[in-house]
């Protein structure tokens, strides 16, 4: 189970990364939404883990429209000219920054090592992807819900 302190720090990390790098607000929802806020069909699934004095695997599902918006702003190119590989690269870096920032808050002694993020474009997202032992979290953004599956055993491949 992810504790309330970790949730608060995770939210602070996501807010800082999205606000400072992408000028896009996000906010961790206190409760899971009962239905998707948009008809999003594609997500950029991005997995990252950390190991060491603590360990966890995290899998983000970034709505494609959110990814297109931030990659377009980040790279300064038209949204219809962004390739899947640019989306994947941008979201890998976003996940890297969020979890790196999170670790900076909960692990000041640097006992954890961040892994290399992996990402792919995937069709749809269902909360059923979270399995036993996983914690499902959702952030609200201007471009739909950003989902996150957290597994403190570091074993998740959702």
């Amino acid at each position: 189970m992810i504790g309330e302190i970790e949730k608060t720090q995770l939210n602070a990390a996501a807010v800082e990364v999205f606000g400072m790098m992408y000028y896009t607000p996000v906010e961790l929802l206190p409760e899971l939404p009962t239905q998707e806020s948009s008809s999003e069909r594609q997500y950029i699934k991005t997995a990252i883990e950390y190991t060491g004095s603590n360990r966890a695997s995290i899998c983000f599902y970034f709505p494609r429209t959110l990814a297109v918006n931030i990659a377009g702003g980040f790279l300064g190119i038209d949204e219809d000219q962004i390739s899947d590989s640019q989306l994947i690269d941008t979201m890998r870096e976003a996940a890297n920054m969020i979890i790196g920032n999170f670790l900076g808050r909960i692990d000041p002694d640097g006992g954890c090592t961040l892994g290399i993020p992996q990402a792919e474009v995937t069709q749809g997202f269902s909360p059923d992807r979270a399995r036993q032992g996983d914690e499902l979290l959702a952030f609200i953004s201007d471009f739909g819900h950003l989902w996150m599956i957290y597994n403190e055993n570091g074993s998740g491949q959702n």
Partner: protein, 148 residues
Amino acid sequence: MAFNILVVDDSDTMRAVIKKTVLMSGVQIGEFCEACNGKAALEILEEMWIDVVLSDINMPVMGGVDFLREVKKDAVLKNIPVIFISTESSQARMDEVVSLGAAGYVKKPFMPAKIREVLVDVLNKAYATRMAEEGSGAAPVAEEQSDF
């Protein structure tokens, strides 16, 4: 005086953003080089003169800390300033890279002005050192810029 700059990061988009930031910083740029990991960066350093390296830490093949260790082992390369731009923001990690000889540290996410501040500071020190060795006076690295 123009400076040759090497940016090392496994993210293409992050390298593009850092490049844009550096080009807007007011620092005069000679060659602008890019590498996607520490090993590729060492190959560039062996081939051409670089004045300052801006490097990520978390990269496949060879990460930024191992890259810095290799640079510091080399009698010729060891004086090239290496600035880290990294998401790894624990005080312990920052202390580690400073003790290994990093010239500066910028946390990701960053404001462009922070990169400019650290880059100009590091280049001014490097330039002053070089000028002192050559026996002439130092000049500022960057003119005033208000793009940030």
